[in-house]
């Protein structure tokens, strides 16, 4: 479904250039859930921005649904691939009602029956019709993220890119949103790429996981390997140790790993 080969992203020019993603390659099968983990600045969100077409300066090959992608994407691409952002407080227009947020994509693609589609999308993310004419400030963080998911789904895409979809939410709400996303994925047979710094979230959602450090995919592993806590690369092991919580011994043995720069 998605295949990325030798992806390179460089920010800036000359001696200030920063290689944010270096020679990244991976594949995701249709209906698969693929996770990318790594600390902040490891380049995992940059990969999503390339896949979604938000970042137009990259090298390598990206193939989505059998079509090789260029720097610019057409309207059909947007119907196929959608994205959910990290911060639900920033991803909804503060002056648009939920109704307007959800009916705009319908209008852009001229799909018609906006009202039906909006109500159905709300129902699908577990929000009643009473939410339809609310403004984002009248919603909680979890409800906002549900609206963001509904907006991504209203065009009935087959691929959903999730950029830390739960890390701005309370722990209790995180589980709700994750369960919603898992349910939707099964019901609609969606293909997910989930980016997160939270190993627990990734282990819960994904079958295959790429671990990134400094722009390089250091290891790709199945979820069973992660659950058995038996990764090969020392960086992954360190990430696993860190996910257990603060630990004086673990901190003492922390080391820096060289990126591919």
């Amino acid at each position: 479904m998605i295949s990325v080969n030798g992806l390179d992203v460089v920010f800036g020019r000359g001696h200030r250039a920063l290689r944010a993603v270096a020679d990244a390659s991976f594949e995701v099968e249709a209906g698969g859930v693929y996770g990318i983990v790594g600390e902040s600045g490891s380049g995992k969100s940059t990969i999503l921005n390339v896949l979604s077409g938000l970042n137009r300066r990259w090298n390598g090959t990206v193939t989505i649904d059998g079509e090789r992608q260029g720097q610019r994407r057409d309207q059909d691409f947007h119907k196929k691939v959608q994205m959910v952002f990290q911060d639900p407080y920033g991803s909804l227009h503060p002056r648009h009602t939920v109704d307007r947020i959800l009916s705009e994509p319908v209008a852009i693609h001229g799909l018609g029956q906006a009202e039906d589609r909006v109500l159905r999308a709300l129902e699908e993310v577990g929000l009643g019709p009473e939410f339809r004419f609310r403004y984002p400030h009248q919603l909680s963080g979890g409800q906002r993220q549900r609206v963001a998911v509904a907006r991504a789904l209203i065009l009935e895409p087959r691929i959903l890119l999730l950029d830390e979809p739960t890390s701005a939410l309370d722990v209790s709400v995180q589980a709700e949103v994750l369960n919603l996303l898992t349910g939707l994925q099964r019901r609609r047979n969606l293909t997910y790429i989930l980016v997160s710094h939270d190993l627990a979230v990734v282990a819960h959602m994904c079958r295959r996981i790429a671990v990134m450090n400094r722009g390089v995919i250091v290891e790709e592993l199945g979820v069973e390997t992660l659950r058995r806590r038996a990764p090969e690369h020392p960086y992954t092991r360190q990430l696993l140790d860190a996910s257990i919580g603060y630990n004086r011994e673990a901190v003492a043995t922390m080391e820096e790993f060289e990126g591919g720069v």
Binding site: H78, H93, P105, F133
Partner: protein, 313 residues
């Protein structure tokens, strides 16, 4: 008894309306929008000074609308037998050098004032908004070109530039309006551009782009509504300056031409009698002062209501 029950029905209806407006689960687009406006109105009426400003503007608009009815005399009918009369019960604000009633002239002059500020606002504000949002959103060389043009206009003092335009176009109130509008838009473009640049990188813009929204839809539907509040505030606060510029042009004989009762031109003609018949110049001066103050107070109040940084409104 019938009146009290009628009253209670009225208050009951009022309460229902209030509840409908403040509902957290609006059932229609219109209800959501009206509820939002009602909350803004509730914030606005808490501000005593802003209400005074609004009152002044309402009086100005009413005076302009009803000028022929409420003005006691014709504004341009000379009566040389009663020239330069002081304030009296016949002429509340006295008469000028041609015996025309100053109160009537001020009331009729409110039409000209309103005409100038409304036209300047509807010419300058959209131009500034469009240039600023396009420059800010598209960026690149277009941004550079548009902003340098803006800088050139900003480099001249407003009145001087307006003077130059009026002397090129010829005196008259229409040309004064065009000249003021040409000098008024650059600050709006600057504000709109600054707001656009902060909005442009927001996730909701990225999300809309991912849905396939083009630049026109994004600028018109997503960026402009967020720039509008600060622009409205700025335009309202600028009204005072526009009135002063128009009056200044009138005073210099480059704006409204006699016998039009434009306030600045009235001050100019009263200048010759400043020491002995002070009211001829002072009364239109007071009118300019009060209306400018009104717009400033209103603008301050609007800033509290419309501030886009204030969440939850």
């Amino acid at each position: 008894m019938t009146t009290s029950s009628a009253n209670s029905i009225a208050t009951h209806r009022h309460d229902r309306l209030r509840q409908w407006l403040l509902s957290t689960a609006p059932r229609s687009r219109r209800q959501a929008r009206l509820g939002r406006a009602y909350i803004a109105w509730l914030t606005f009426i808490e501000n005593r000074l802003a209400m005074i400003g609004l009152g002044i503007i309402i009086v100005l608009v009413a005076a302009a609308a009803l000028a022929p009815i409420i003005a006691p005399y014709a504004p341009n009918a000379p009566n040389l037998a009663e020239r330069l009369m002081p304030m009296s019960s016949a002429h509340w604000l006295g008469t000028d050098e041609l015996g025309r009633d100053i109160l009537s002239r001020i009331i009729h002059g409110s039409r000209l004032t309103l005409y100038v500020i409304v036209l300047v606002a509807i010419i300058a504000a959209p131009v500034g908004l469009l240039i600023g949002t396009v420059a800010g959103y598209i960026g690149g060389w277009l941004d550079v070109v548009l902003m340098r043009v803006t800088d050139i206009f900003l480099a001249f003092p407003k009145l001087i530039l307006a003077l130059a335009f009026v002397s090129a176009l010829g005196p008259g109130i229409e040309n004064a309006i065009i000249a003021i509008a040409i000098t008024a838009w650059p600050p709006y473009a600057r504000i709109a551009r600054a707001e656009t640049i902060t909005i442009r990188k927001a996730d909701f813009i990225k999300a809309a782009r991912l849905q396939g929204a083009g630049p026109i839809r994004l600028i018109w539907g997503h960026v402009m509504p967020l720039c509008l509040s600060s622009l409205i505030v700025r335009v309202t606060l600028d009204m005072a300056g526009i009135i002063l510029t128009a009056a200044g042009l009138g005073f210099l004989g480059l704006g409204a031409q006699p016998p039009l009762p434009e306030w600045g031109a009235m001050i100019s003609s009263g200048r010759k009698f400043m020491l002995d018949q002070w009211w001829v110049a002072a009364m239109p001066g007071v009118a300019i002062f009060v209306v400018s103050l009104g717009f400033n107070l209103l603008g301050d109040g609007l800033r509290d209501v419309l501030d886009p940084k204030a969440e939850g409104r």
